[in-house]
Amino acid sequence: MQPLVQLTREPLDRDALVAAVSHPSVGGIVVFEGVVRDNARGKQVRYLEYDVYQEMAELQIRSIIAEARQHWGVEHVAVAHRFGRMEVGEASVIIAVSSPHRAEAFEACRYIIDTLKTTVPIWKKEVAIDGEEWVEG
């Protein structure tokens, strides 16, 4: 199956991603959902703003998924990342991975989110009560 990759300004649809990786042959589905927190490094966060280099981000995400599929043999993967302004509690990223057995799905999902965070050109600005800053690692 072609992996589903979405980069969108719209709220993310968890159910659609889970449906995209559901298949009679899978025995487990792991979903990671990153949500906007109301605090960071002692600051009170009002909202987040994400910027993305869309064309390259999509290529990078597809290459990370290809690596995960090769390494753990997971067949079905869906990744969605939102950009623009996001309020506290909203999902900024959702990753769904399914496989016949749970161990591979957990590991592949962990690999995808960790690698995505450090190598995919997507940036986060924290807008706090007393100022704003682009977050760097």
């Binding site: 910027d51 993305v52 280099y53 064309e55 390259m56 290529l59 990078q60 290459s63 690596e67 960790d114 690698t115 965070k117 450090t118 190598t119 995919v120 050109p121 997507i122 940036w123 986060k124 600005k125 682009w134 977050v135 760097e136 690692g137």
Partner: protein, 97 residues
Amino acid sequence: MNIRIRYFASLREIVGQSEEVLLVQEGGRVADVCALLLERYPRLQSVMDRCIYAVNRRYVTPETVLHDGDELVFIPPMGGGGPFKARFSVKEILCNH
């Protein structure tokens, strides 16, 4: 030759636009454009020191030679963090991609 530069995140806010086309000498490298931009926008200095580079949507080294019509993007650090960072440097990750 013409090189298309696109700006994101803090770079976009500093230069006040999301893209521009620069006239660059034939044979120019990524590092040359970097120097050119620092002359034009001195306030880029601190973030530029932490940037990596992409040409036509692939990560490259600063020695990469540019060609007419290339799209060059300076990529500031991404807001990653987490345990992955401690185990791998960004350079190692990029070499694997």
